[in-house]
């Protein structure tokens, strides 16, 4: 019987010495580990076994981490359907997870399992060996029960890798500084438009969380961002076009699933791809193909708007140290798993950080309110990852009234 949690389980994971020794880190089957089956949750990649480790995997191993296995994931990392990382973390199968965040998945899985979830700045962690879907928006995120663990893992993973030329050249940040930055009063911005979709009950909880922050040396200020709804539009248009191109390699020619019944190669393409993908991915790829083939100018508009959103978001950090946003407030029922619109409804508060490539930290809600089972996001300016984590430490210390960063 297939394992309900693991897609691949290492029977005897090696333990090593280093900053992560004795830390079990869960990964997903879209991250290459030599000799492991890495199907990325898709029939398209059934029985695919990589030839070498992803850079992130090699760094985790070298830092002494234990890799118990890869946890079942949504097809090609999109959304939550089939994703078992929150369950794995809840069951304590690992102290931390390194997983794809292309529209907020890592942050949401973290909050669902009462962990912290960090999506670093774009280009900070090598994606060599990550079989992604939306190259300009996705990155590896880290989920863990403590901020210290997240900081340690980030210190291990961040840094330049010549095998991923899409990385930022400034990618070497000193994460050992997280605990050295002196505490100071913070100014936090809340985008009014980001709260519009909240139910009255959710809005009340969020207001309570903000009120608590007000008692912790945080000045909360409301911000208008009229273009806010465009984050979703841009993510959908640009993301689906990139996904459509990126999934083009699943053609059954060299690897992955190839149909058993095809008279010629055109049939081979059509049937292999039809058999390879689930409904959600197909919808997403079709949407991308629509923009590519039928409405290219809309895609070009989306690219331009993305540039504008980037500038507008950057400008906000002239006025505030961090942005605060809700996360995981909307439940996703199983019928929503295969519907793009419901998927985007669910992840909407998480999307901006992916669209502009800024760092975002999801903090489990119970830090603010023991009854509150939902998260809060702290978003910082690009490459301010160390300062963002330091600010989070400061708030968590204040909220828990103790000196450690434990969430529990």
């Amino acid at each position: 019987m297939p394992d309900p949690i693991f897609a691949y389980r290492d029977a005897s994971p090696a333990a090593g010495e280093g900053p992560l020794s004795n830390v079990a880190v869960l990964i997903q089957p879209n991250l290459a580990v030599r000799g492991w089956e890495c199907g990325a949750g898709s029939v398209a990649l059934e029985k695919y076994v990589p030839l070498e480790d992803a850079t992130a995997v090699a760094k985790l191993k070298a830092a002494g981490a234990i890799l118990p296995g890869s946890v079942r994931m949504a097809e090609l990392g999109l959304g939550t359907d089939g994703d078992r990382m929150a369950d794995a973390l809840k069951q304590g199968l690992g102290q931390a997870a390194v997983m794809t965040d292309l529209m907020g998945e890592a942050r949401c899985a973290a909050v669902a399992s009462r962990c912290y979830g960090f999506k670093p700045s774009y280009g900070l962690i090598s994606r060599f060996g990550l079989n992604g879907l939306i190259p300009s928006m996705e990155c590896l995120g880290v989920a863990a029960r403590s901020l210290d663990t997240i900081t340690t893992i980030m210190a291990v993973l961040a840094g330049p890798d010549e095998r991923d030329p899409s990385m930022r050249r400034e990618a070497a940040l000193d994460f050992s500084q997280v605990n050295q930055i002196p505490e100071k009063p913070l100014t936090a911005g809340v985008i009014r438009e980001s709260l519009q979709g909240l139910s009255p009950d959710e809005a009340k909880h969020f207001e309570q969380a903000l009120a608590r922050l007000g008692t912790m040396n945080v000045r909360v200020t409301a911000i208008n961002f009229p273009d806010y709804e465009l984050f979703r539009v841009v993510h959908q248009a640009v993301g689906s076009v990139e996904a459509s191109s990126h999934a083009g390699k699943y053609d059954g020619v060299r690897y992955g699933h190839r149909t058993a019944n095809a008279e010629n190669w055109n049939e081979m393409y059509l049937r292999s791809r039809a058999e390879s993908f689930g409904l959600l991915i197909k919808s997403f790829l079709f949407q991308g193909a629509y923009f590519q083939f039928q409405n290219y100018s809309a895609f070009e508009h989306a690219c331009r708007i993305r540039g504008r959103l980037l500038r507008q978001t950057l400008d906000l950090f002239e006025r505030v140290d961090i942005l605060l946003a809700p996360l995981g407030f909307r439940a996703l029922d199983s019928s929503g798993d295969s519907c793009l619109e419901k998927l985007y409804d669910h992840f909407e508060p998480a999307l901006p950080a992916n669209v502009v490539g800024f760092p975002a930290l999801a903090v489990p809600g119970e830090i603010w309110d023991p009854d509150m089972n939902r998260g809060l996001q702290l978003i910082g300016p690009p490459l301010a990852d160390v300062r963002l984590l330091a600010a989070a430490c400061q708030l968590v210390n204040a909220a828990s009234g103790k000196g450690t960063h434990d969430a529990e």
């Binding site: 879209n30 079989n131 990139e242 083009g248 390699k249 060299r254 083939f293 290219y296 690219c303």
Partner: protein, 481 residues
């Protein structure tokens, strides 16, 4: 209705050139054909999941040098796009190519037009792209199968798109020759249509002569030599004229040149998808400072070299053209010309003797036993009258198998020219006696009779007589009588 001469052709070329950089465009695999299929492959050029393209700066340098050789303006920022289509020769469903922002624009080359006057042909743009894999069609039992060889996948190409400035086969052929010369000079590519390191497609349309309109064009592919390019264009022009004269409209489509039958035939339209910006390959940014470094690397180009050879070595234009068509030939010629008294003779020897001899022996100019100083020594012997042309040819042939100097070969083989006047006088006297008819013919003014007697003298002397002196003596004797 206009007749044949009342139409003119409008021709533009799209030329793919395989750059000779050491590695492929986006990975470290050797940029080589390989001895067996799929010898030079890696996760990147197979596009395995998780691999990233890593742009080769060496390939960019080759491309930039080629663009500079074609007088193009290098763009400060160029970007790769994904050209989307599905075909088994394309492992990731799109080809990386520069569609929206090419590497270079606005180039030109000068050719000698059909009217003998210089003509400038403009280049619209040059962009970089990766080559696709090679498909091999075979059978497994009775079942047809297709196999994919990825050795070529990801090899660096540039595509040169010209303006529609060409008016006939001559222009297109001369353009390709000039292009090949320029690009070989900067050592960016081999540019051989025969060997597949250059591919040229022609876009051809016709219009009434003198009109400015641009009519529907037809693309012609599959020409494997410069001559085929000329033949295919000539055929296609006539085909379109006949079609228009028959009252049919020219339809936008692609045709294949069939060299056996000398005709073009329509090919099935290939699906062509959109081009979207690629999010993984960083843009190519070339700052002014960097560009200056590239420019400084340009060698003396053919036109400048031709002018210098004409001035320094008194070569006529055509001979200067011969000596500058290839950079290594130019270097060789210059080395010989500096060491021998007659540079023009050197040019002729290189063009008429040395290059054909090397071709016959399948040798490269750079490592052949007749190095410039040995050829110069041989030509000096000729110039000084030590040996005649026949003997020089014999010495030359021997130089390919013997390391001895030309003068040693002359001594050993007894090839020194007979220049002693009394000896030659005696020889001529005997010939005149033996061939009274020839003497009579000379007196009647038949010049070729002198040639006959000179030939007899050469035979009698086993090639050692100085033919110039023999001719003088015959003329003096016959006229003196």
């Amino acid at each position: 209705m206009p007749n044949n001469h009342q139409y003119e052709a409008v021709i533009g070329l799209e030329i793919h050139i395989h750059l000779n950089s050491p590695t492929k465009l986006f990975c470290d695999c050797p940029n080589q054909p390989g001895e067996h299929p799929n010898q030079y492959v890696c996760p990147t050029c197979l596009w395995l999941p998780g691999a990233f393209p890593h742009l080769s700066w060496a390939a960019v340098e080759k491309a930039v040098m080629a663009c500079l050789a074609l007088n193009c303006e290098i763009q400060p920022r160029s970007v790769f796009d994904q050209k989307v289509y599905y075909y088994p020769d394309l492992p990731k469903g799109y080809q990386l190519s520069q569609f929206h922002k090419p590497l270079a624009r606005n180039g030109w080359l000068e050719i000698i037009g059909e009217d003998g006057r210089p003509k400038r042909l403009r280049i619209h743009e040059i962009h970089m792209e990766e080559d696709v894999a090679k498909l091999v069609h075979d059978t497994e039992g009775s079942k047809p199968i297709s196999l994919v060889d990825f050795n070529r996948a990801g090899a660096p190409l540039i595509e040169i798109v010209t303006e529609p400035d060409m008016r006939g086969p001559h222009d297109a052929m001369e353009f390709l020759r000039a292009l090949r010369t320029q690009i070989r000079y900067v050592d960016a590519a081999e540019c051989s249509l025969e060997r597949g390191t250059m591919r040229a497609d022609a876009n051809i349309s016709i219009r009434p002569a003198g009109s400015e309109e641009l009519n529907t064009k037809v693309e012609v592919k599959n020409m494997n030599s410069i001559r085929h390019v000329g033949d295919a264009i000539a055929y296609e022009i006539q085909r379109q004229i006949a079609q228009v004269q028959a009252g049919e409209a020219v339809r936008l489509h692609t045709r294949l040149w069939n060299p056996e039958q000398g005709i073009t035939t329509p090919m099935r339209a290939k699906f062509s998808g959109p081009c979207v910006p690629d999010p993984t390959v960083p843009p190519i940014v070339i700052e002014e400072e960097q560009l200056a470094v590239f420019r400084a690397r340009l060698p003396e180009m053919p036109a400048a070299k031709r002018r210098r050879f004409m001035e320094s070595f008194s070569l006529p234009e055509e001979e200067a053209q011969w000596m500058t068509a290839e950079r290594d030939v130019a270097g060789y010629f210059e080395a010989v010309a500096q060491q021998c008294p007659n540079p023009r003779a050197a040019a002729h020897w290189i063009y008429e003797q040395l290059l054909p001899a090397l071709k016959e022996r399948r040798m490269a100019l750079t490592d052949n036993p007749v190095d410039p100083s040995r050829l110069a020594a041989l030509l000096t012997l000729v110039e000084q009258g030590e040996i005649n042309a026949t003997a020089a040819k014999e010495v030359f042939d021997h130089m390919f198998v013997s390391p001895e100097s030309p003068s040693e070969i002359v001594e050993q083989r007894g090839l020194r020219q007979m220049t002693d006047t009394s000896e030659l006088e005696l020889l001529v006297a005997r010939l005149l006696e033996a061939h009274p008819d020839a003497v009579g013919n000379i007196r009647k003014g038949k010049a070729q009779a002198i040639g006959f007697l000179v030939g007899q003298a050469m035979r009698a002397s086993q090639g050692k007589a100085d033919p110039k002196r023999v001719r003088e003596i015959i003329a003096a004797r016959v006229q003196g009588e």
